[in-house]
């Protein structure tokens, strides 16, 4: 089973943050290659595993860097807003240890500079998340 484990001495303070890459989905890559067009390079981002997020979120503007077009529109509720319409994009997650998962992300502005994506329960639905607080580590497998 593909998996990775991350240890972070500041796990309690920062939360389960990891570095990952966001790439165009395999279907887009195949289409671009077939058409002789360049495939956008994956973007390296810091992501927070957020069990309070029902879906994954990508920082606003990054989908354009991947030259992606929306495949959906969905409304989101946050602590301060309700029913805000946002675009949804198909992406490929390249997680540590080269664990690769195809999925979708909602594009929205994320507060602060240190996190460019939230990894929510739609991604976690495909895997097993283990959080061992006393050892400052977490593990995700698919």
């Amino acid at each position: 089973m593909p998996s990775f484990t991350t240890q972070n001495p500041s796990l309690q303070a920062t939360g389960p943050i990891l570095e990952l890459q966001i790439a165009v989905p395999a279907a887009v890559q195949a289409s671009l290659v077939q058409g002789g067009q360049p495939v956008p390079q994956p973007i390296t981002v810091s992501g927070l595993i957020d069990t309070g997020a029902s879906a994954c979120v990508l920082q606003q503007g990054l989908a354009a860097q991947l030259n992606l077009n929306p495949i959906g529109s969905t409304s989101i509720n946050t602590p301060s807003s309700t029913n805000v319409q946002c675009y949804e994009y198909a992406v490929r997650y390249v997680l540590p240890n080269n664990v690769t998962v195809e999925g979708t992300m909602i594009e929205a502005p994320l507060a602060g500079q240190n996190i460019q994506c939230l990894l929510g329960r739609d991604l976690l639905a495909h895997g097993t998340l283990i959080y061992i607080g006393y050892a400052n580590l977490f593990s995700l497998s698919f």
């Binding site: 279907a27 309070g52 969905t74 509720n77 946050t78 602590p79 502005p109």
Partner: protein, 79 residues
């Protein structure tokens, strides 16, 4: 939000009742003003969208009587 998918969302609404009657819970693939088809999984609808149309905007939307929202309990989203 910008105007992308405006036509597709309008098309979906125009066909929602009919789609509910024959494919409730499935995922509709809509491009411009055409409902291309319905699929059991979101992934299948997305794959078919890229296969047919390439990397252009299209709509994949679950066929429900009332749309659901995604919920975020933290303050990470600046909206």
């Amino acid at each position: 939000m910008a105007e992308l998918l405006k036509t597709e969302l309008k098309t979906f609404e125009e066909h929602r009742e009919e789609l509910l009657g024959r494919a409730s819970g499935d995922f509709a693939l809509v491009h411009n003003s055409e409902v291309v088809g319905t699929y059991k999984s979101k992934e299948d609808a997305i794959t078919e969208g890229y296969r047919r149309f390439g990397n252009v905007p299209f709509l994949v939307k679950q066929i429900l009587a009332v749309d659901t929202s995604e919920d975020f309990t933290s303050n990470h989203i600046a909206i």
